[in-house]
């Protein structure tokens, strides 16, 4: 894969690859959103009730208006939610970054309440604007990400590689959706090529599985992993899961495929490694933050002033609503689940990763805290942390 042929935006001295898509359509969406936001501002200036009017600029659309404070609490809440999504979509479009619905949820968990609310709102927002969801630079949450010189031929003979797979992130055809079940929506693009050049490990392809709360391995994911293991056994596979009992259970499932098939530990799955989040990551996070600040400031000096301005603006705009601290306390249920997994792990012998999982569960119970993957990232961007972590693991 030739990285230089794709559109490249320099950001913090690292390469972000964007898909070659027409600027005008993004520009049109941006101006639509801006005009909506401007009309909200006008309302503020005139001291009127705030109003988001999706009919703006569209005659064929049934008028849909949402007021603030509106008639009831629900309407006020809906207004706030839509405003936040519009703002995030706008920021994402301007800076050429792709957001996942999951990421939007984690921008303000209290406001949205549930992931489902976000999913519905994003879809109806796209509908109201008369565009496809992808055109808002918002995609479904991914199950995983791969990086490196790997291309996959789909059933419809389309070939995807890291360049199309990563920043494109948008299944243009239903065939893709169908074939991969949103598997490679690589919102969290891993810059393995930069790791490669730094660490001189260019022969490695890196494969990362990102799992979330509902991320128990499905058949498709497992068969995909099996395909990789079979065809390219040299590719390391990592699991990144939440630091909570469910997260560890997901890892356990990936490692042993199912609750009851522990004896089936074979070459196909045993090399799935556990990337995190581990208790040490929680304790080390400050160290990581310091090193990443040093790293980004050093690399910024290397880039020209214009692009570093761009990087700054993209960073500040996208993090304009910072993630809430997702480190939270274990619930009674969490503790029960943790003990249940400890019991299940008793049957496994001589597996270093399992010994570590046991330890992590015990330490989790001792510390009494859990942390979601979102806790690690900077407003939805895990790449720095992944570089840091994988760089250490593959050194």
């Amino acid at each position: 894969m030739d990285w230089t042929t794709t559109n490249v935006i320099r950001r913090d001295g690292e390469q972000l690859v964007t898909q070659p898509r027409s600027i005008t359509s993004a520009g049109a969406v941006i101006s639509r959103i801006e005009s909506i936001l401007e009309s909200v501002l006008d309302c503020v200036a005139e001291g009127k009730e705030l109003l988001i009017d999706f009919a703006t600029g569209r005659e064929d659309q049934t008028t849909q208006k949402i007021h603030f404070p509106g008639k009831c609490l629900q309407e006020a809440t809906k207004f706030a939610r839509i405003l936040l999504i519009l703002q995030l979509a706008h920021d994402a479009l301007v800076s050429g970054i792709v957001l996942t619905k999951r990421h939007i949820f984690y921008q303000h968990q209290e406001l949205f309440g549930s992931q489902r609310t976000v999913d519905k709102l994003v879809d109806s927002l796209a509908l109201a604007l008369g565009i496809h969801r992808d055109e808002l630079n918002i995609v479904a949450s991914s199950k995983g990400v791969f990086s490196g010189c790997l291309s996959i031929r789909l059933q419809d003979d389309r070939v995807i590689g890291p360049a199309t797979g990563d920043a494109v992130c948008r299944p243009d055809s239903t065939a893709w959706d169908y074939a991969t079940n949103d598997w490679i929506n690589c919102d969290h693009k891993l810059r393995s090529h930069t790791v490669d050049s730094r660490r001189n490990i260019s022969l490695f392809d890196i494969f990362v599985v990102l799992a979330n709360a509902k991320g128990y391995p499905d058949i498709l994911t497992c068969s995909f992993l099996q395909l990789i293991r079979f065809n390219c056994p040299q590719i390391p596979i990592f699991t990144l899961v939440d630091y909570d009992p469910d997260g560890l259970n997901i890892f356990r499932c990936y490692r042993f495929r199912s609750n009851n098939a522990i004896q089936e530990t074979d070459a196909t799955t045993s090399s799935i490694r556990w990337l995190g989040i581990k208790s040490q990551d929680l304790l080390e996070y400050e160290t990581y933050l310091n090193s990443s600040i040093r790293h980004s400031s050093a690399s910024q000096q290397l880039t020209n002033s214009q692009s570093s301005e761009e990087s700054n603006s993209s960073k500040t705009s996208i993090s304009s609503t910072e993630c809430r601290d997702p480190v939270s306390f274990l619930s009674t249920r969490d503790r029960k689940v943790a003990v249940g997994i400890l019991e299940k792990l008793l049957d496994v012998k001589d597996d270093a990763e399992v010994v570590e999982a046991q330890r992590e569960l015990q330490v989790m119970l001792m510390m009494g805290v859990k942390a979601e993957i979102q806790w690690l990232d900077e407003a939805g961007n895990l790449t720095d942390w992944l570089d840091f972590k994988l760089g250490k693991l593959l050194l």
């Binding site: 304790l283 330890r359 015990q362 510390m367 009494g368």
Partner: protein, 318 residues
């Protein structure tokens, strides 16, 4: 004036996993870890040899162990939710199984931190929902004799730590939401609800004379309260990480504290300052304990994520 402590001995890899809890008697040190085995080290010998290994004590590992002050009883709480009593045989110098605290009052998740009374007759344990239960463990029936609520029924904050005063008058508990409670054991009522730490309280300790309660946790400071009026009488500051463990010296002059960054500190209560800081490791310390004072100089020990037990002795003749 600072105090000098020297590492006299380290038992490397005392356990195969993290050491989560330590409990000392006059002659022995009991250690509990993520493995199913409890260890007993002989503290009368300068090389602290392993005297006894109790295998299969807690199959999922053990997170808390404590002893009665008279040195005759111990209790341990496992990750599986079970609580066991251990009895010391003075003749053989070994610990033997004294049975489980079972029955409908000990459901899984019902017991986290534990503490034994001076004579080993009573065991206090914290629960998920913030209650503190007290069992009569001297009697084989092991009946629950007290249940303290710290919130409206069933909705209290996770009880992370508990301590009993030597005279048996008070029970103190520390909770995840930062609250500290002191109970009057005679009346069975809450005596004080002490706030101020705001973050999880991972350790509470009542001073030997029963006049002070020390509490510490994620806030990184040790708060001192008096038990007479429930007043906040001072803070000890200096740790830069979560404080996991506290222990008063025999005389009540010094307080020992351990934290997640591997640092153990000795504090002078009279002067309100840290008089010694040690760190053998940068990994978490889960437990720090004074050894009951014998003829030799003052000693303490630490255990944690590096799986070793380090023993420290006060440097004399300065």
């Amino acid at each position: 004036m600072s105090k000098q402590y020297l590492t006299t001995h380290t038992v490397d890899d005392a356990h195969i996993t993290d050491i989560f809890s330590l409990a000392a008697t006059q002659k022995t040190l009991l250690s509990a870890s993520g493995s199913s085995t409890l260890h007993v080290h002989d503290t009368t010998d300068p090389s602290f040899p392993l005297k006894q290994s109790i295998s299969g004590a807690h199959k999922l590992g053990c997170h808390h162990i404590c002893t009665s002050r008279n040195g005759l009883y111990a209790a341990s709480a496992g990750f599986g939710g079970e609580v066991k009593i251990w009895e010391y045989n003075k003749e053989t110098g070994e610990w033997s199984d004294g049975g489980e605290v079972t029955g409908p009052t000990v459901k899984p998740g019902e017991v986290w931190a534990i503490a034994l009374s001076e004579d080993g007759g009573y065991l206090a344990g914290t629960t998920n929902d913030g209650r503190i239960n007290v069992w009569d463990v001297a009697d084989r029936s092991r009946a629950k004799i007290r249940e303290y609520e710290t919130g409206s029924a069933g909705s209290g904050s996770f009880g992370m730590c508990v301590d009993l005063s030597r005279d048996g008058k008070f029970t103190a508990s520390g909770h995840q939401n930062g609250s500290v409670y002191v109970f009057n054991n005679d009346t069975g009522r809450i005596l004080y609800s002490l706030s101020g730490l705001a973050k999880p309280v991972r350790a509470v300790a009542i001073s030997p004379a029963g006049t002070r309660v020390a509490a510490a946790g994620d806030a990184g400071i040790i708060a001192l309260y008096d038990t007479k009026h429930g007043e906040h009488v001072g803070n000890l500051t200096g740790h830069s990480s979560w404080i996991t463990s506290l222990d008063w010296s025999d005389t009540g002059e010094y307080l020992l504290s351990g934290s997640m960054d591997g640092k153990v500190k000795v504090w002078s209560i009279e002067r309100g300052v840290c008089v010694a800081t040690h760190s053998e490791t940068d990994k978490a310390l889960w437990a720090v304990r004074w050894l009951p004072k014998t003829a030799r100089s003052e000693m303490f020990c630490t255990g944690g994520a590096n799986r070793s037990i380090s023993f420290y002795r006060e440097a004399t003749g300065s």
